[in-house]
Symmetry: C2
Subunit: 436 residues, 2 copies
């Protein structure tokens, strides 16, 4: 593979970050059309480089086999023709998404000839740290260019050849446009990850994609805002007024449809009045899917299952294990969720709309669901066209985050020489404050 650009560089990280920031300043001023054309140029460059990319990935895979990497990691690392074509199609999908930049949120005359506009703009520079999956390079780069942001990528060491080939192609695509190819950078060493987290002067948002413990490590070691979540401890509360068939189907889907997902449930809370009826049906369906059940004392009076301990209420199993607790009333369920939940996604099964409304108002979570599976908590299922991450922080952006998570806004105020002294003191001129 010949390369016109060095995708990794010996320059100090601070210099790299300054360069990205400077290039991103111009990227931020480009029109929607120009950014979308750049995405098409990237897609074409990736198509043109597909032989090199697949060869680089094969080399990574061979090294991974020699290093006896786990099968799950191998599956994520592998990039074949089909996966590559799908990722390239994904870039063209991103080009077709509405532009998140330049949207007018406030347009207001403060006084005649003094007009305030609040409009969306790129954050600046994104730092994205991810593990094995090399296809993430294509997805993240396209979202960054679409939203007008510079990008510093840090891929997993096991995917270094693939990532370098991909970033090289992406930069060759950008070289066909007015965008500085240096606006996308790739880091490859673990030391650089730590250094990246210190660059709060140059990096505006960190997106960590990896295990819970990795995300927590990132959150604890940077002053830069972090988009993501460490835990996903989600609950389904089966109310006394639940339709048992619906509740069983929702419980099974929420637990087993993809148990490793952050939006899978870990604990089932069941109202005591419906406990026997519901649990005797649910246990059959759940055990058919090989779900290991753990219950509190009252649950174990109904089901012959292992005991749940206090630790179970705070554990994200990411596996086919489900804790069960019987509660006396709605309020106890809400208290339990607000105490142990990670504010991700919480569901209630009930035919009582008033109970559902109370649950949805008082449960503190990004997603509060009524009579549907927690697994719907996802940017694509919500219709965002892309998912940048899922945030369990309280401040926006919260929950599944699409392109909206990569932008901010600024206030533009345009006048004709107005000064504040005119609008202050005893003879203050009043503001008009007319929305335009």
């Amino acid at each position: 593979m010949t390369s016109v650009f060095a995708t990794t560089t010996a320059a100090p990280l601070t210099e790299i970050a300054q360069h990205v920031r400077h290039s991103a300043r111009y990227l931020a001023t480009l029109s929607t059309e120009t950014r979308n054309q750049a995405l098409e140029a990237i897609a074409q460059a990736l198509e043109a480089a597909s032989v090199e990319i697949l060869a680089a990935n094969q080399a990574d895979c061979q090294a991974a086999i020699a290093a006896q990497l786990p099968a799950a990691l191998m599956a994520r690392l592998k990039l074949d023709e089909t996966k590559l074509q799908a990722a390239i199609a994904g870039i063209r999908d991103v080009a077709r998404l509405p532009d998140p930049v330049g949207a007018v949120q406030i347009h207001r005359e403060l006084d005649q000839g003094l007009v305030l506009t609040r409009l969306t703009c790129p954050l600046g520079v994104l730092g994205v740290i991810f593990e094995a999956r090399p296809d993430a390079v294509m997805q993240i780069s396209s979202l960054a260019i679409k939203s007008g942001n510079g990008l510093i990528l840090k891929g997993g060491q096991e995917a270094v050849r693939s990532c370098e080939a991909l970033v090289n192609a992406i930069r060759q695509g950008l070289a066909q446009t007015n965008i500085d190819p240096a606006v996308v950078q790739l880091l490859t060493t673990r030391e650089e990850t730590l250094a990246l987290l210190q660059l709060d002067q140059y990096v505006d948002l960190i997106i960590p994609r990896g295990s819970n413990s990795f995300v927590r490590f990132v959150q604890d070691n940077t002053r830069i805002p972090v988009l993501g979540h460490a835990d996903g401890i989600c609950h389904l509360y089966v109310d006394e007024a639940a339709d048992v068939q619906k509740a069983v189907a929702i419980a099974v889907d929420s637990k087993t449809q993809y148990p490793a997902a952050c939006n899978a449930i870990e604990t089932l809370l069941v109202h005591q009045a419906i406990a026997s009826e519901f649990l005797l049906e649910a246990v059959v369906a759940l055990q058919l899917r090989n779900v290991e059940l753990r219950g509190d004392d009252r649950t174990r009076e109904i089901l012959n299952i292992a005991a749940a301990t206090e630790a179970d209420w705070s554990t994200e199993y990411t596996d086919l294990i489900l804790a069960i607790k019987i509660v006396d009333h709605l309020d106890e369920a809400i208290e339990h969720i607000n105490t142990y939940g990670s504010r991700h996604t919480e569901a209630i099964a009930t035919e009582n709309t008033q109970t559902a409304a109370t649950f949805m108002a008082q449960v503190d979570a990004a997603g509060v669901f009524h009579n549907c599976s927690t697994r719907f908590a996802d940017g694509f299922r919500y219709g965002f066209g892309a998912e940048v991450g899922i945030s369990t922080q309280k401040m926006p952006p919260r929950g599944p985050v699409g392109l909206e998570g990569l932008i901010t806004y600024k206030y533009q105020l345009v006048g004709k020489g107005q000064i504040v002294a005119t609008y202050s003191g005893a003879k203050a001129k009043p503001f008009t404050h007319q929305d335009l």
Copy 2:
């Protein structure tokens, strides 16, 4: 003064915070009308308690005189009949503001009978730490109740009697409603400030109101999101195409209308082509207002003023001091601002709209102003009806923040038993994704 509620308590802070959080859970479910009625009840209770409040403030002021507090602090501490009535009128103004809670931001059918709604909701519990001004208690409490949030206040020690009398009256007002008076809490010791910053499990937002160093201390000592800004290093760039009269007026207003404000300018950047003409006019106007000028070498070839050093470019004077630098072109001005500015408010004076557009697109700040004073950067002047703080962080909320800064949103998904398995795999049912 007799009190039915203890406004300060010996209970551990964690218990207090848990209590506030629990009370806020119900506050969050109340209607707009109920919250506005509570504000009216608070206003009436403050009117009824005005004699006790003014007496408590007099006691604080006498203690402050005895302790020889600085005159500026004394002025902020003093609460007379006029200030109290104005603050009570302010509470009724807050009641008239649009409700920030319950606004529908997204309303979308994912499939028939599966409806997603994103709606605004309170953050939960606010922690507000402020210095001398006791009237802040009334303003902050009304904004918290309006936005459905619990509130933990920490006032300055010098205002402790005033704050206790005010919080006592506010709670007596709340006792006339269905809202638990414990939803507003007052802390009075410095040790409690430190403890408050550790309560990330119970407090969702910290708003520090005080000196730059205090805000920086708070930012460095908590995991809770902080709304505010440490520095306000703002610039005015006088372009070669500036109207000199306008530019001089804007420079004078931006520097002198209230030099201690965060949105006052600290540095004037002047295009070399207009430097002599502009500076010779500006110096007269600025020195008339007793502004001390410091210039770079090229400025000092035109004006006989002290030298500016590198440190001047990074200093917020909060005083009648202005640094001046001559630049060769727009790009140099933008680079200087993006390097030394605190991303607060930056202005350009020019009659060239293309130059202004470039400046506004490429300068990285919450506010980018064209031909008007930086002093307009303010929530009331923007027409928000209230200002919770000014944020210089990149992520929203950014710039002057109104009630919007005290809320977040949650996703509600309501179905009829839908599960994700239906929408997955080879026979996946497609989503409709129809906005409603």
